[in-house]
């Protein structure tokens, strides 16, 4: 299953990230994963939240430039080589990863890693065929 990721365009100015966080918090939305891609001039904040549609609504109301993107959240064993398993499968089957980051979720012996791949349908197919668990929602 695909997971909805929210991306927010951020200027490199002091306090801008705090404002996003505040908007999300005040709407009672919980963060499940977060990452920032930064260039010299601007940043792109990526988040997985428990209520993505609501988050989009409040962000737009606060005039943030935000966008929904589909990503895959894969449940992996929290032990050496856990990530390697997926990498080998993706590499073998030609799944091109654009970026990945880890989530804040940790249950027993497993973690969830968020993958943005070039062709999500193809990527998901490979994940399911390999018997890996892609989570549906947070």
């Amino acid at each position: 299953m695909k997971v909805k990721q929210i991306s927010v365009f951020l200027e490199n100015t002091t306090g801008r990230l705090a404002e996003v966080t505040k908007t999300i918090a005040e709407a009672g939305i919980n963060l499940r994963a977060i990452s920032i891609a930064d260039t010299a001039d601007f940043g792109i904040l990526r988040m997985i939240v428990d209520k993505p549609d609501r988050a989009m609504k409040v962000l737009k109301e606060s005039e943030f430039t935000a966008k929904l993107t589909d990503v895959i959240g894969i449940v992996l064993n929290d032990k050496p080589g856990g990530l390697l398993t997926v990498m080998e499968i993706f590499n073998r089957d030609g799944v091109n990863i654009e970026y990945l980051y880890s989530s804040l979720i940790k249950e027993d012996e497993s973690v969830v890693i968020i993958f943005k791949v070039e062709d999500i349908e193809h990527g998901l197919g490979i994940v399911e065929k390999a018997g890996l668990e892609a989570i549906a929602s947070f």
Binding site: R16, D41, F42, I44, F64, T65
Partner: protein, 437 residues
């Protein structure tokens, strides 16, 4: 004894003879102008059907002013007064939008211009023994080529290196013992700031003079260049509509720029009333070119603010002097010597519907050089989660701007609503440089 003048007779003639020469040449120019689609009706409308309708120099006031926008409307051939096969060269400069203004010259026109640039070089103390490194851009821009031919004509060894490539500039200066350079004032300061980095000291060079132009600068900047290099620096003024460099040039007295009145008819007018103002008062410089047949331009509003310096120069030259350019009456920006109109930038941005219509232009000093920053807004429709797409967009904006304004700006992407909402054109431009350099 070495003659201090290039053309003693013309340079030192008395005012009355000069005025007679001006009238003669003005009549020739009006004759040419009557051949052009652009001027034909303009002149007839004010009762000038032939050159003989001009009885004296003040009759020029009957002729309407010509503006940059007029020249744009005449693009590409509306101002050509010679047969096309007589024309041997063209130059163009940036217009207020993507349409440039274009100037044509016959061989005779070029020869007269070369004679004038030779005169300018001699007046600034250049001699045939000098080695002349031309650091001004060659091409459609008149800055480089303009002095090139005059320098050759004078007999100097000319190094046509053009602008940029600082490392090579130093190498040539050292290896060939350059004595005179021609550059923008900001580039001179930049050169000095890079000397140590490239491993040179002043003792590696034989530099004596710098001819600086293409951007307004203060007396303080001249003194700084002179002190840093231990040389003399001379101010130069020109614009492509009036051929290019050598409209006005400083002589060795460094007391203002002689505007060569046998070749240009000058008026200084109040920028609002357009009435002529007395010598010594600052106003807009209006020029008519008297030595070009292929593109006659009459009463051209240069938009440059200056004043006529009263009195005669101790060098003995008859042509009156103008003061340093004090500013512009329009919103043209001069970025490291290159003319940029905010409207050119706006045109590019409006042609890219994917970026918002709100934008801002910021000009800053970065060390010694000017930096042009174009700030644009990223709306939800173009925002991509992929930073590479955003960088590509940024690069595309830069490429489109460079194609229009010839220099590479920095392009910033901002969140919508961050840039102040603009009402007028002028407030879209924030010039943080302060003063003239």
């Amino acid at each position: 004894m070495i003659d201090l003048y290039h053309d003693r007779e013309v340079e030192t003639m008395d005012r009355e003879a000069l005025r007679a020469l001006q009238l003669l040449r003005l009549k020739k120019t009006v004759s040419s102008a009557l051949k052009t689609p652009f001027y034909k009706n303009r002149l007839k409308d004010v009762g000038i059907k032939s050159a003989e309708d001009l009885k004296n120099l003040t009759d020029i006031k009957k002729i309407p002013f010509t503006t940059k926008d007029d020249l744009r409307e005449a693009y590409p051939f509306g101002l050509m007064a010679s047969d096309r096969d007589e024309v041997v060269r063209m130059h163009a400069s940036s217009g207020t939008t993507g349409t440039p203004t274009v100037i044509y010259q016959t061989q005779g026109d070029l020869d007269r211009w070369t004679d004038l640039t030779t005169r300018s070089l001699v007046s600034a103390g250049c001699r045939k023994e000098d080695i002349f490194q031309n650091m001004m851009t060659y091409g459609l821009f008149t800055g480089g080529i303009g002095l090139h031919y005059g320098a050759e004509n004078l007999g100097m060894l000319v190094i046509p290196v053009s602008s940029g490539n600082t490392k090579r500039q130093f190498q040539l200066m050292k290896d060939f013992g350059t004595t005179v350079v021609h550059a923008t004032p900001s580039y001179m300061l930049y050169l000095h700031s890079k000397m140590e980095e490239y491993g040179y000291t002043l003792s590696d060079f034989r530099l004596k003079k710098a001819l600086v132009g293409a951007e307004p600068h203060s007396e303080e900047i001249r003194e700084k260049i002179e002190t840093l290099f231990g040389i003399d620096a001379y101010n130069s003024y020109g614009l492509s509509e009036m051929n290019g460099p050598s409209v006005a040039f400083e002589c060795e007295k460094k007391a203002g720029m002689h505007l060569w009145e046998d070749s240009y008819l000058m008026e200084v007018v109040d920028e609002n009333t357009l009435e002529e103002i007395p010598d010594g008062e600052t106003g807009e410089l209006v020029l008519s070119i008297l030595i070009r047949t292929a593109t006659p331009i009459l009463r051209y509003r240069t938009r440059d603010l200056t004043s006529i310096i009263p009195g005669k120069c101790s060098c003995g030259r008859i042509s009156r002097r103008i003061s340093r350019i004090k500013g512009r009456t329009d919103d043209m920006l001069i970025i490291n010597g290159v003319n940029v109109f905010p409207s050119q930038i706006e045109e590019v941005i409006m042609k890219m519907p994917e970026i918002g219509t709100n934008y801002r232009i910021v000009v800053k000093k970065e060390g010694i050089l000017d930096r042009l920053i174009v700030q644009t807004e990223v709306g939800a429709s173009i925002f991509s989660d992929d930073a590479r797409d955003m960088n590509k967009l940024q690069k595309r904006i830069i490429d489109n701007l460079r194609a229009s304004i010839t220099i590479s700006p920095t392009v910033e992407l901002h969140e919508p609503g961050v840039l102040p909402v603009q009402e007028g054109k002028a407030i879209r431009v924030v010039d943080e440089r302060g003063g003239n350099g």
